[in-house]
Structure formats: C-alpha cells, structure tokens
Amino acid sequence: MIEVLPVALLGGVLGLDVVCFPQMMISRPLVAGTVAGAFVGDSTTGMLTGATLELIALATLPFGASRYPEWGSAAVVGGAIAGAVHMQAPGAITIGVLMALATAWVGGWTLVKLREWNAWLAGRKRGALERGSRGTVIGLQLAGLTSDLTRAILLTGLAYWLLFPLARAMIALWSFDGMLSRAVTAGAACAVAAAAAWTIFHSARGARWYFAAGLMVGLLLLSFG
C-alpha cells in the first residue's frame, strides 16, 4: 500500500486532464490504465485493463454539460489494482475493470459537485467580475484548477486505499478460471463499444457498410493471424 501516494498523485494529474488542463486525453483509459500499471510494475496488465475500459469509454464522450464518468482517475485506480495483483491471478483484469467502473461513477458525481463549487465561487465574486477585476478572473481560474486537482488526488487515493484490499480479498476467493473471467469482461466491453460505434457513426452516409467491411477485415485477420 506504500504506492497509494504516487498512485493518488498520478490520478490527480490525469483526472485534471479530463476537463480542466490540458485536455490532451492523457486521461483516456488506454493511457491512464497503462501508465498506472507501469507505476506498480506491470504495464502490460495495466494496458489490458485500460484497453477494456477504453472500449467501454467509447460510449461516454465528454459533450458539454452532460454528466459522464470520470475516466482519468478511475483508469488509474483500475490499472494500478490489476497491475498490483498481476495478470497471472484469475480475475485480475475483471476486478480492475470493476473497481475502475465504480470509481468512474463516483468520479462523475465529484465532477458535478466541482462545477457547483465553481459556480458558488463565481457567484460570490459577481460584483468584482462585473467591474472587470483582473485578479478575480485569474483567481477563479486558479481556484477551479486547484480544486479539480485536489478532487482527483483525493478520489484516486481514497478509491485505491479502499478498493485495493477488497480486490486482494476477492482475488483470494475468486473461483472462475481466468479464461472465463476475461471472456465475460471482454465480451461486455466489446458489446458497449459496438453499440457506441453504431450510435456515434450511423448518421454518416454509408458508415454502417464501412463498419461491416471493417468487421470482416478484423475477423479475417483473426482467422489467418
């Protein structure tokens, strides 16, 4: 558990990227899960967890004011947990994905609270904003950035601290074999990804045929690979 602090700081930086700064998508599960896995010494398991989460995350794109899961901190928690219990343990990736999804749900709620907090701060300074106070504008921006960083650090640290012991206990009791566990997790993730791809792209003319052609190529590659 000595890795809680570095994992929390990593989650803070990647959680900040989701909305506030710099939105380079280092918070995407594929990146965050892989980096978190590397942090605890198993980047491959982190990447497998991150890729599974990435397939699921395709369904939740960050449109404007909509409420969506916070994948940055969540993928760090999932990737670090899966990486720490190692791929050899049956159910490691399944448990990493489960912990990440639970954290993402809570993370989405914390983002809503952060936005309400920012609105409250701005409301208190309305007079100064209407007078064009430079210090107030800069201060509000820095306060929002600091609050988001703090939010993401606390979320990641608390989630990892609470969920890692639970994950270890679950691994000890896990009765399904690794192949079945991964088949269930990957099957569910692929279902969400396929539905998301349809929902996002079907309005583009001919996109369904492009998708079908791509699917044929993918399956052929698997058949001959």
Partner: protein
C-alpha cells in the same frame, strides 16, 4: 452568426494592433486551461476572460485602464462552445477588442459564436477525432503492440489534431476578427466530421475483434461465444436508444459475475 456565403474567408480590414509572440504564447497556454473554472452558470465565460487577459493588456491604459476593465467584464461573462474551437473566439475577440469595435457589436458577435463553435467542435472532435484516434490505438493494441507504442500512437495522433485545431483557431480568429464566420465554412469543418465518421466506423469494425482477442489472450469456442454474446448485447443496447447506459450495464454485469465467483 449567419452561415458563410462563400468558402473563402474575407479578412476584416481594421487597424492591426501589435501583439507580441510572447503574448500569443501566453494566450495559447491559457487556452489549455480554459475550462479551469467551468461551471453551470457562466460555463466557459471566466476561461475566455482568463485566456484573453494577456492580449487585453495592450488596451489603452493597460491593466488599470477603464478600457481593460470593461473588456474583462465583457469577456468573462457567459460563454459556451467546444473548448478547442473556443480558440477561434478568443482570437477574434482579441482582435475586436484591440481594434476598438463598439461593445454592443462585440457582445452580439460573442453570443452568435457559441452555437456554431459548439456544434462543429462536438461533431469534429468528440464524435469524430477522439473515437477515431482511440480506435486506431486499439487496432495497434490488437496487433500486439507494446504498451508504450500504443500510448504514444494514441497521444501523437490525437494531439496532432487537437493542437492543430487550437493553433488554427487562434490564427483565423485573429486574422479575420468579426469576419471569422466565413472561416468556419472551411471544408475540413464542414465535411471533415462525415469523412472521419466513416473512417472511424471502418476502424471500429477492425479494432473490436482484434482488441477482444488480445484482452482474452486466446481464440477458440469461448472467444467466439464472447463475441457472439457481445453482439447480442450490442444490438439490445442500440435498440434501447440510450435508455440504458452501456457502462452502467457492464458495471452491473461484472459486479454480479464477481459476486458469484467469490461466493460459490
């Protein structure tokens, strides 16, 4: 903002106020944090004021002048658009403020920009470039690429578009000022989303089975079963038209699976 009547932007010929490269770098750096104080009341408004502030210092009287304070108050009010495409607004508003355009006209222009910059950005970036980049990286993952390769491929591809859009936006915004509407008729913005959507749909078809194969680490009846079950669930999710969120369904399914696994 009205739709552009031609595809060629028409520059606004106003006295060009000097803005140094350092100021532009400062504005660009602040654009990366434009959503720092995003909230349900003013949305991106404070961020726009924050990003414009280094350029507004060039107004007569500097930061203590009335012109600066009036401009800061105007530019920190409610604003809503896609965060990357807001660079177009920031460039155009910087030009308008420094050129002495009347405040009422700036406010009307600012309000009119919100819709187009929001819808174009959502279609081009959130529903286009982001899933496309993600799916390309998942194809590389499916082919067995190393973790660092997958991460760098995704970040390199996505951010080429991300930073390209931000730099382009600031450039055309500053160049055309209040006439920037015509720049939004750029073919990349008008037709790009449809091309990216078709490419992403094809890549999605390749990526999903390849990624599943790599996650499972084996092929056989269980792999085929997983894909078949996934296809059935996907059809169900599509037919439910968003009434069930996929990620919540997966959370419930995996939680039940884990419960059975540890309890039996």
């Amino acid at each position: 903002m009205t739709a552009a009547s031609s595809s060629r932007p028409v520059p606004v010929h106003a006295a060009t106020p000097p803005v140094s490269a350092m100021t532009w770098m400062s504005v660009f750096g602040r654009l990366l944090a434009i959503q720092g104080s995003w909230n349900y009341e003013t949305l991106l408004g404070n961020g726009v004021g924050f990003a414009l502030e280094p350029a507004l210092r060039r107004l007569p009287g500097g930061v203590h002048g009335d012109a600066f304070k009036a401009a800061m108050a105007r530019e920190s009010a409610y604003f809503n658009a896609h965060p990357y495409l807001t660079s177009v607004a920031v460039g155009a508003l910087a030009r308008a403020e420094l050129s002495g355009v009347p405040p009422e006209r700036i406010e009307r222009f600012r309000t009119a920009l919100c819709g187009p910059l929001g819808s174009v950005g959502d279609r081009l970036i959130w529903a286009g470039w982001l899933p496309f980049s993600s799916l390309v990286a998942l194809v590389a993952f499916g082919f067995g690429a190393a973790p660092m390769t997958v991460v760098l491929l995704f970040l390199g591809l996505y951010n080429a578009g991300h930073f390209g859009v931000r730099v382009w936006g600031l450039y055309v915004g500053w160049k055309y000022g209040l006439g920037v509407a015509s720049a939004l008729a750029n073919p990349v913005l008008r037709q790009g989303p449809a091309y990216i959507a078709r490419a992403a749909a094809a890549v999605a078809g390749v990526a999903i089975p390849l990624a599943a194969s790599r996650i499972l680490g084996f092929r056989g009846p269980l792999f085929i079963g997983a894909l078949a079950c996934g296809a059935v669930i996907a059809v169900g999710l599509v037919r439910l038209h968003g009434r069930v969120e996929g990620w919540k369904l997966v959370l419930v399914l995996i939680a039940l699976f884990a419960l059975v696994s540890v309890a039996r």
